[in-house]
């Protein structure tokens, strides 16, 4: 298999005790993932988690100075650069992917931001999937109380439900329904029930050309509808204000106006815009363009080879914390209708006629 031009960096996150290390251990025992470099981070004085992992070799790095999201600019980027340097010098095997296991308390955003923003890293690495483990026994309580946990679920590309064998079926169903409301499009696996498909967890991301259309199709496969019945309960729950919704727009849209609008929105509300994903029908581009953002960070937009289905509308999925869907839709429509004199920037040409 050809070596990837950019090495994907996957992130395994999940709240304390939700089974991240167990998941990593299972993934690493899969022969398909033998060429994976691993960075482990454990909060506290002593890195305990690495003792639980059997495979300790040159491509496994333990970050011990504390919580990843706090030490991010230094240690994580230095560790990845060091691995890359050793890889190029032949001191470690030529790994094809990196997996970073974050602490349970870490906000995933700074970790993702490091890979994308670091001037060296961004020329050799790209972001892969964010895999979030959720504990079926304690997940509901953690989601209700811990803001980090909610954020970890909202930004996930893959959700792995752990300890389902220890939880009541009804409680698991309720948790799944809550996870679906927070993040409707991430595929959900049950760690306890079936052998995990390591390839599906760590590959087929939007930026791997092979899985791109499939990844985009999944974004919109799940029905994104507000669950008003659920929202009425438990007003004091922490995750109550987080919800997902989808918007669609007819006709080609102006890329520049969209970029202007999204950067303005992220500048003011980036903290509350946990996720934005979309396929855009861009004026002047024959193929659809996929955009994908996590809070303030927007991945470089990618050209899709083809539309995932017959629908040619631009579609966007938002996961927001407390932002008003109606205002977001109206604001984007108003921006896209701006006529900057180039005869573009309209969703509905007739609206300007």
């Amino acid at each position: 298999m050809a070596e990837p031009i950019f090495i994907p960096v996957n992130l395994i996150t999940g709240f304390l005790g939700s089974g991240k290390t167990t998941l990593l251990q299972r993934l690493l025992s899969d022969p398909a993932l033998a060429d994976t470099a691993v960075l482990i981070n454990e909060f506290g004085e002593v890195g305990l988690d690495h003792h639980l992992l059997e495979r300790i070799d040159d491509t496994m790095v333990l970050l011990q100075s504390g919580c990843l999201c706090c030490t991010i600019r230094g240690e994580l980027s230095a560790a990845i650069k060091d691995l890359h340097s050793k890889r190029e010098r032949g001191q470690v095997p030529r790994f094809r992917r990196v997996v970073v296991e974050s602490t349970g308390l870490a906000d995933p955003f700074p970790i993702l931001s490091t890979v994308q923003a670091d001037p060296v890293l961004r020329h050799h690495f790209r972001l892969g999937n964010v895999i979030t483990t959720v504990d079926a026994v304690n997940g509901t309580a953690q989601l209700a109380r811990q803001p980090e946990c909610t954020k970890q679920v909202a930004v996930a590309d893959r959700l792995v439900l752990t300890k389902t064998d220890l939880a009541q079926a009804a409680a698991t169903d309720a948790l799944i329904s809550r996870l679906r409301r927070l993040n409707p499009s991430a595929p959900l696996s049950h760690a306890a029930e079936a052998p995990l498909d390591a390839e599906a967890l760590l590959s087929h991301d939007l930026f791997a050309t092979a899985g791109r259309s499939e990844a985009a199709r999944r974004w919109f496969a799940a029905e994104v509808t507000p669950r008003d019945d659920e929202a009425r309960h438990d007003r004091n729950r922490h995750d109550e204000t987080i919800h997902a919704f989808a918007l669609s727009f007819d006709g080609p849209l102006d890329w520049t106006l969209f970029g202007l609008w999204l950067t303005m929105l992220l500048n003011r509300h980036g903290e509350k815009l946990l996720r934005v994903k979309g396929i855009l029908n861009v004026a002047g581009s024959s193929a659809p363009v996929a955009v994908h953002g996590v809070q303030h960070l927007v991945h470089p937009p990618v050209h899709m080879t083809a539309w995932p289905d017959a629908d040619r509308r631009s579609r966007l999925v938002f996961i927001v914390d407390g932002l008003d869907r109606g205002l977001i839709e109206r604001s984007l429509q108003a921006f896209l209708r701006l006529d900057a004199g180039n005869g573009v920037g309209v969703l509905d040409q007739q609206a300007l006629a």
Partner: protein, 109 residues
């Protein structure tokens, strides 16, 4: 890099992504880059008008943002644009502000 000012070009912003296989960008060649910058300034100006700000190109590498009273800042990309606009104005620039939306809807900016 501009030898005179020491300004590093290439912000790495997603709207100016470097041309790579599979990526969508209008940062492919000089002509396209210039055209996109011109269009971007025209579009942004329609919104910035609401705040009494003006935007112009600077050496095809940055932008110059000015208030009506002449306070001026150089900005690198769209992210810095909004943060700098807020700094110059001393108030937030919120695309979800119903008043701004109404102005854009009714007057096209």
């Amino acid at each position: 890099m501009c030898a005179l000012c020491g300004v590093l070009s290439g912000s790495g912003h997603w709207t100016d992504a470097a041309a790579r296989p599979g990526l969508f960008t209008r940062n492919v060649d000089g002509l396209q880059r210039r055209r996109e910058r011109g269009h971007r300034i025209a579009c942004a100006s329609r919104v910035l008008n609401y705040y009494g700000l003006t935007l112009s190109d600077w050496q095809a590498s940055s932008y110059v943002l000015s208030t009506a009273t002449g306070k001026t800042e150089i900005v690198d990309n769209l992210t810095h644009l909004w943060a700098t606009a807020e700094k110059l104005l001393g108030r937030p620039c919120d695309p979800l502000d119903p008043d701004l939306i109404l102005r854009l809807e009714t007057s096209g900016g």
